[in-house]
């Protein structure tokens, strides 16, 4: 009853091809942005910002990156962790060499370094597909992990082997480093994620998105409508790695405040992959759903039993997360391979006809 399109006529193609053709969706989007930019800063405490919202946003961005590559283009990648790492280390070196340039510029710029590395390790995709390509991305993952540890120049030769994030400001306000407040960092992360999500949405709704989906669905047919496969695949690697790189830079600079190399180990690659699978391959909103579920699940597992008075060991919560995530992946692949995003779509369909059953 509320979610009806009745009366919303599209009188031109541009309106019909809009990203949010239904008015209620546009209103919903505006409300979400309002809540994110205005309500949360007023209402949330440091814990919510630091431990829930900021990482959720960062992982969503990484999930969008991987979704572009695996969900839209069909190229399975297990190197997400490493590409995120490239972004983080690139950002560190950039801001070390040019400390007076705005850190936000460097966070975005570090994505280009990730993109370059992504293209390099994506070159084999000309000849190999599917599981074989996944193994090639593993080569990228393990090699880059090794680089992060064995090339001290990358982490400014610090004794601990970890990235130490220096203090940087934006218009006089500390943004990174120990004095940056959660609120500042939250707003920066939110702005970057919203902007980059908007760009990703533009790309996937246009000819590039169609090109990638053609490659995913049947690459032989894609070739015969004139798509050059290598260019399409390398573009996917580039854009995907860019997003992962920025996410990695934000992870270190705007969330952790410092990092050791094992943050970008293969476990991270799997984590983001699961977010994409459960959230919904080939959808942008699915990246957010997946990140929310997988990231928030262990927190919820710790909080809920505690609320009932049955405390649970943190290690057990994490292990239970693994069990549930593993089972969820199988459940989703069996029941709804298109993940939470499809469930959301089905939900909206039902909402359209509510209160009638069909």
């Amino acid at each position: 009853m509320l979610y009806r399109e009745a009366g919303q006529y599209k009188t031109n193609y541009a309106a019909d091809m809009a990203v949010f053709p239904i008015l209620q969706d546009r209103i919903g989007m505006a409300v979400i942005l309002l809540i994110a930019f205005v309500v949360f800063p007023l209402v949330c405490n440091d814990f919510m910002l630091n431990a829930v919202l900021i990482p959720f946003l960062i992982f969503s961005l990484a999930a969008i990156g991987l979704n572009l590559l695996t969900g839209y283009t069909g190229l399975l990648s297990l190197g997400t962790g490493a590409f995120m790492g490239v972004g983080a280390y690139a950002c560190l070196k950039l801001t070390t060499f040019f400390p007076n340039v705005d850190i936000i510029i460097w966070i975005i710029a570090s994505g280009f370094f990730s993109a370059a590395i992504g293209v390099l390790f994506g070159l084999p995709s000309l000849r190999i597909k599917g599981f074989y390509l996944a193994v090639a991305t593993l080569a990228a993952q393990f090699f880059l992990e090794w680089c992060f540890i064995r090339i001290p120049w990358l982490y400014n030769n610090s004794v601990s082997g970890a990235i130490e994030v220096p203090l940087r400001t934006f218009m006089g306000i500390p943004v990174t480093g120990p004095t940056a407040t959660s609120l500042t960092r939250y707003l920066v992360v939110l702005s970057i994620v919203v902007a980059m999500t908007w760009v990703a949405s533009n790309v996937v709704h246009g000819r590039i998105g169609r090109m990638w989906m053609s490659v995913r669905d049947m690459d032989l047919a894609a070739e015969l409508i004139g798509i050059r496969l290598l260019r399409a695949k390398l573009l996917a690697f580039a854009v995907s790695s860019f997003y992962c790189g920025v996410a990695g830079a934000m992870m270190v600079f705007l969330w952790y405040g410092g990092a050791e190399a094992d943050v970008f180990a293969i476990d991270q690659s799997f984590l983001v992959l699961f977010m994409v699978i459960i959230g919904g391959l080939g959808t942008l909103i699915g990246s957010f759903f997946g990140a929310a579920l997988i990231y928030i699940l262990p927190i919820a597992l710790r909080a809920i039993p505690a609320a009932f008075g049955l405390p649970i060991r943190p290690a057990a919560a994490e292990q239970l997360t693994f069990v549930i995530v593993g089972a969820l992946i199988i459940v989703f692949l069996v029941m709804e391979p298109n993940g939470l995003a499809r469930l959301w779509q089905i939900g909206k369909q039902k909402l359209r006809v509510w209160p009638f059953p069909y």
């Binding site: 084999p124 074989y132 290690a315 292990q319 693994f322 069990v323 995530v325």
Partner: protein, 318 residues
């Protein structure tokens, strides 16, 4: 010039100057390679029969070993624990076939591959919950596995061969031989080969795909158990083994996904190759190149010969 000398000449000079170290490195590589080969063997079994790429093979190794040790820790005598673990692996095979393979029977390969990720993580969490996350010691003595080393002098120094390693190589060879005979001579082995060739044709002669899949996953589970025992006896039983087991993927690429001899040869090449690379060229790069060397070799193969040494060339028909 100096670089060329360092890369192409020095390591070989070193090899020649200390042949005992060379033999030691070759032996260590061989043993590592045998273990990789065993894991790859599990993959090949499952892939040949069901077309599923079982990413969870590595965690099955860990899980089998953990179950064995865990049962023993709770007071079950060693060989009884071994028997019970075999039962557990059967239950696991049955569960996987029922809950994962059957519902996903017509889905694409990528979906099945991702489902095995799910199995992997499920087993990691489950294993840690039940047995705890700390590394454990394999009950090698209780299983009458030898320990100690054989040392012999010669080649200008001395070479030390761990008895457990020798046992591992022997047991692995026996297992491969048994599997080879099983596939070639027995009725079930024939059925497995039939299923690997064509599901449709196998169905039409009355072979039950579900039964075959349970058998094959169980066989892979036994291989995983043996691998877990061997590996655990050499070092320890911990979840980091799961990551090392990923090295079986390059082995498969080298050897081809469908070839048992390929898995063996591939395993040996990777095992020996990475040990040689680490020992003689590693210092040039700061060490630790074992973590990625196997993958880079696989990458090279993928680009030039995607079907590996022994695999079948895929021809896509339109």
């Amino acid at each position: 010039m100096d670089i060329i000398h360092k890369v192409f000449i020095d390591p070989f000079v070193q090899m020649g100057m200390a042949p005992d170290l060379l033999v030691q490195t070759l032996w260590d590589g061989l043993v590592g390679g045998v273990l990789y080969a065993l894991i790859a063997l599990g993959f090949v079994l499952i892939f040949k029969a069901s077309g599923v790429f079982n990413f969870a093979q590595g965690i099955m190794v860990v899980f089998a070993a953990l179950t064995l040790v865990g049962l023993h820790e709770h007071g079950v005598p060693a060989f009884v624990a071994l028997g019970l673990t075999v039962v557990v692996m059967f239950v696991l095979a049955f569960g996987v076939e029922r809950l994962v393979l059957r519902p996903l029977v017509n889905q694409s390969d990528i979906i099945l591959f991702m489902a095995t990720f799910g199995i992997t993580y499920f087993l990691i969490g489950f294993g840690q919950l039940v047995f705890g996350g700390n590394p454990k010691v394999m009950i090698a003595q209780q299983l009458y596995l030898p320990n100690g080393a054989i040392e012999f002098k010669g080649l200008g120094g001395f070479v030390s061969l761990q008895k457990i390693d020798i046992a591992a190589v022997i047991i692995a060879s026996v297992m491969v031989a048994v599997l080879a005979v099983f596939f070639q001579r027995t009725r079930i082995g024939r059925a497995l080969r039939a299923v690997a060739d064509s599901h449709q044709a196998a169905l039409s002669v009355g072979i039950s795909l579900e039964q075959i899949w349970v058998i094959v996953w169980f066989a892979a589970g036994i291989v995983a158990l043996a691998t877990g025992i061997m590996w655990g006896a050499r070092s320890e039983v911990s979840f980091s083994l799961q990551i090392i087991a990923l090295k079986a993927l390059p082995v498969l690429i080298l050897g081809g996904l469908t070839s048992i001899p390929g898995a063996i040869v591939g395993g040996l090449i990777i095992g020996i190759g990475e040990k040689l690379a680490e020992f003689y060229w590693g210092p040039l790069l700061g060490g630790g190149i074992e973590s990625w060397f196997a993958y880079v070799i696989a990458l090279g193969f993928l680009v030039f010969r995607p079907q590996g040494l022994f695999g079948e060339r895929l021809i896509e028909r339109i």
